[in-house]
Amino acid sequence: MAHVPNPRPAGDFRTSYAADTSLFRTHLESRLTLLLVLAALTVPLWGSNYLLSQMILIGIYGIAALGLNVLTGMTGQISLGHGAFFGFGAFASAYFASKGIPVLIAMPLAGLLTTAVGMIFGIPAARLKGLYLAIATLASQFILQDFFARAAWFTGGPYGALAETASLFGLMINNDARYFYLVLFWVVVSFLAVSNLTRTRDGRALVAVRDHYLSAEMMGINLTRYRIMSFGISSFFAGIAGALYGHYLGFVSGEGFTILLSIEFLAMIIIGGLGSVSGSLLGAAFILLLPQAMEVFANGMAGVFPSIAQGTAYIKQMSVGAAIVLFLVLEPEGLIHRWRLMRASWKLFPFSH
């Protein structure tokens, strides 16, 4: 990650350490974020169903991507099994709910169970590094997928499991508007939690392990513990997101949680910006909306060159691939980096260069 200077705007003097460790770099930014959350609260009032569902999915995927970002972005451990943990959360929550536990409680429970499972699969991290670890997580992907199809008592086997509708004090959360608030709640909670983590002891320890584990150990950081813990944290968010996903669809089927999903999660955090909290959400939005944008693009192409009308499906998919590549070529450090650069040059103007 390259360095971008982070000057403060004139007049924004930090007068206390508390102000200097605040979550946001500027007052403007904190107000902007608050405004965004407030604006999000009103979406169900005016947004179309489509917009709502997109925002729900972006929120859900964003939480999962955030979890992966803790593991890969912060701790530097690439995981190719995040999709399976996401799936595990979905099944777990459906399972708890089917045992009569209220859905809103089943969700965090599922998160905790997924945490435990994630930590078990994270044990190899104590010894493995880099791509060796990545492939070990690939193993967890396939082992869990196999488990989904096999453990009928838990997952409903190949048919999948019914995920009950959530309800709060008798109010059924059975439409997108209500579900949107539920997801928004978890998004805010998750992103606040991880942002806080990054500015406290254990968050720093995770990053230290990524940047230089040998010296981190000398600083008193127990490598094994933090490496495995990082799997736990990331699985927790995967589990929560999976649970939200499962209850949103009402039905959980093992088919959706393949290696492709894991790769998509990876794509989200790379495109959003490795290690960046808000980048996770941006990346999720990018990966979810890209195929739909490219659909429009492909149809447009077909409008101009009628001869390729038959190929729109392929053009769409190709442009998804091309967009990812192009994006990386132009902005290899993620969306968040672009934003920081913009901000930096804006503030430094006219002194930049």
Binding site: H3, P5, L341, S345, L348, S352
Partner: protein
């Protein structure tokens, strides 16, 4: 001795094997590190470049060799001439082929290769060369390397430095840029390394641009020297002339008499050239 003025393009003397003219380097599109750096290295001579930490010495060397790209840095203004040719935008591998070789700070040896493999790699730009013979030659200079087996990554700091210089010799360059070659070496070895630098210069006629913190040794060895601060040259002159300069004495050589480190100053003096 004059305060450094930017060298005008026309002034680039023909016996300068290397000439930087008003070079500006920016990292990540925003961080300005070199701010109009102008200097030259004479053919067949040793030129020293001194300066405080963070002044931009390493950046200057990387800019000359064209290695900024991997760090997201860029020469945004000015020119670099090597051997009379503008090489500001020439790819690094071409420069090495043409005899411009950088021994990087932190040595940059390939840790998971053996010593011989590292040395062979030094001769990469000379296909068909008698590598075996040249390696023997390096071993003459650095007998210690001959004894060590196994991967280069397990060498001690000083051994790695020797390997890095030996590897540069394998390339048979015309101009070697050395980034702090004495760093981390024992006093004996520092002397040895400077001896070797002088030998390379005298015996093989190599031009050398030396970035050093050990100002004492560097100015003794150098024919000409530059002092840089904050991304540009603030002072230049022959090695002797610089050694006599009051400021240089004060800040780089330690005054006339050796001061004890125990009795270190408790306040910062102002540098006169700032």
């Amino acid at each position: 001795m004059a305060l450094a003025e930017p060298i005008a393009a026309a002034d680039v003397a023909t016996d300068d094997i290397l000439a930087l003219n008003n070079v500006e380097v920016i990292f990540n599109d925003v961080i300005l590190v070199l701010r109009g750096m102008s200097m030259a290295a004479r053919r067949g001579q040793i030129t020293a470049l001194l300066g405080a930490n963070g002044a931009g010495k390493s950046t200057t060397l990387k800019a000359i060799s064209g290695l900024l790209h991997t760090e997201d840095g860029e020469v945004t203004r000015g020119t670099i001439h090597y051997d009379g040719v503008d090489v500001t935008r020439t790819s690094p591998d071409r420069k090495v082929k043409n005899g411009l070789f950088l021994v990087m700070e932190g040595r940059g040896i390939v840790q998971d290769m053996t010593i011989t493999e590292n040395l062979r790699l030094g001769a990469f730009t000379r296909p068909g060369a008698d590598v075996k013979h040249d390696i023997e030659e390096v071993y003459e200079y650095f007998p210690r390397l001959r004894e060590r087996k196994g991967l280069a990554g397990y060498l001690s700091g000083g051994e790695q430095q020797m390997l890095a210089i030996g590897r540069a010799m394998m390339a048979k360059p015309k101009l070697i840029l050395m980034d702090e070659p004495s760093m981390g070496l024992s006093p004996l070895l520092v002397k040895e390394v400077f001896g070797i630098i002088r030998r390379l210069n005298k015996e093989l006629g190599l031009s050398i641009l030396l970035v050093e913190q050990n100002a004492n040794m560097a100015l003794k060895a150098a024919d000409y020297g530059y002092i840089m601060e904050n991304g540009k040259i603030v002072l230049d002159g022959t090695g002797e002339a610089l050694s006599e300069n009051e400021d240089v004495k004060e800040f780089y050589l330690g005054g006339g008499e050796r001061r004890s480190f125990k009795a270190v100053k408790s306040f910062r003096r102002r540098k006169r050239w700032l």
